[in-house]
């Protein structure tokens, strides 16, 4: 029985990794990169002195952080085709596709969290740094790009990576869109072969190893970081 369970997992492994894990990791990386870019933009808007930028950005961030991710996934998946059709004036719902829908949803959702991390990061860079940059004749945009944001990003790397771990775990929610991420692949095999117990145990072990390993890595990175 036990040997056959191991055998089941080993046979399914190529499918689990090649299809499932590849998708999970791709979605994580895409959403992290795009979410960080959008989140940084949102952070700059939130901190802008212009109300036209700061108020919408604040509403967006607080709104996103006040609803469950699962709800956002559902809403976006079912609504986006109609909203898209309305914008493009098309009579039929726009084909967004589950994959693109997932990437966009996760990006929009994570951006709200990355925004708050980046905002803390920008605030952690002293005002004197901005003065020093401006005094050299740099424009405000150049000061942000070459002086403040690189330091903010560096100061916040542990927090950002920790958020990415959460994001990686959350990608399993695409299961509700019937997409085959790692968790979806596990569940496929489990229901096909009737091997729920070993398969879900194996899934838990894999998530644990990856997330725990990554968090140990972040911890080491944090303590080894050069101090200034």
């Amino acid at each position: 029985m036990q040997i056959s369970a191991v055998h089941e997992i080993l046979t399914a492994l190529p499918y689990l990794l090649k299809v499932g894990m590849t998708f999970s990791l791709t979605l994580t990386v895409l959403a992290a990169v795009l979410g960080l870019a959008l989140g940084t933009l949102l952070a700059l808007c939130r901190m802008s002195s212009s109300k036209w930028l700061s108020v919408p950005a604040t509403l967006y961030v607080n709104g996103m952080r006040s609803v469950p991710l699962l709800l956002v996934i559902f809403w976006f998946y079912f609504l986006a085709p109609y909203v898209g059709a309305w914008i493009t004036n098309s009579p039929t719902p726009l084909q967004v596709g589950a994959y693109r829908s997932a990437v966009i949803t996760f990006t929009l959702f994570e951006a709200a969290y990355f925004c708050e991390i980046m905002r803390a990061g920008i605030l952690s860079v002293g005002k004197g740094q901005v003065s020093a940059g401006l005094a050299l004749g740099l424009t405000f945009a150049q000061v942000m790009k070459t002086i403040v944001l690189p330091q903010a990003l560096r100061n916040m790397t542990p927090a950002l990576l920790t958020r990415v771990i959460t994001l990686f775990q959350d990608t399993s929610l695409v299961y509700v869109l019937s997409m085959t991420d790692f968790f979806g692949a596990i569940s496929d095999i489990a229901s096909r072969d009737g091997t729920a117990v070993p398969m879900y145990l194996f899934a838990a072990a894999v998530y644990f190893v990856i997330c725990f390993g990554a968090s140990r890595f972040i911890h080491r990175f944090e303590t080894a970081r050069y101090a200034y």
Partner: protein
Amino acid sequence: MIQINNVSKWYGGFQVLTECSAQVKKGEVVVVCGPSGSGKSTLIKTVNGLEPVQKGDITIDGQSVTTPKANLHKIRAKAGMVFQGFELFPHLTVLENLCLAQTRVLKRQTEPASVRARSLLDRVGLSAHSNKFPGALSGGQQQRVAIARALAMDPIVMLFDEPTSALDPEMVNEVLDVMTDLARDGMTMMVVTHEMGFAQRVADRVVFMDRGQIIDDCSKDAFFGESTGRSDRASQFLSKILRH
């Protein structure tokens, strides 16, 4: 070179500068001193527009800093500034600190920018440290790098905002020496400082401020002389800081 005319500034309802007027001529070294909270740091930051003013006007080399349409970036590039807290960019090496604005603002190529940077590091005695990060340097070394960074823009005037106040006592002189050399080379300088020895050696004129007002603006000899040009308030200030 620097012309400050009737400048007033408020933080909310609190007036930090009242009708301040002063000037720094080409090649002159003007020391601004006064008790803390007297507005001297604020005044020097209004000169390159880091602090806006509500009244009065300021020009550098004939160009207004205080009109709304002033091209501040262009003017700031010509006015080097050194801060109390050094404000080197900690994520860049010393050399990169000196090259950043040269390439971005003056549009110099990387090669001439780093040649200029290295010659200035040599001038402040730090050429051995060009590839280190600022965090690896002492306070005095960091401030010398900050001076070199400002000089890399080939400024026509240098503004110093309490450049030695955050330093350990034993590091003060290495920074003052660099500033003294700079003054000897004919650089136009406005220096906010408590270093009265430096003022006595290097300054042409001394401006004394108290409670946001310029109380005295006189030659060094008149300010430090036995019986003369300075106000009673300045005499009090000097007797307090020179006693020990």
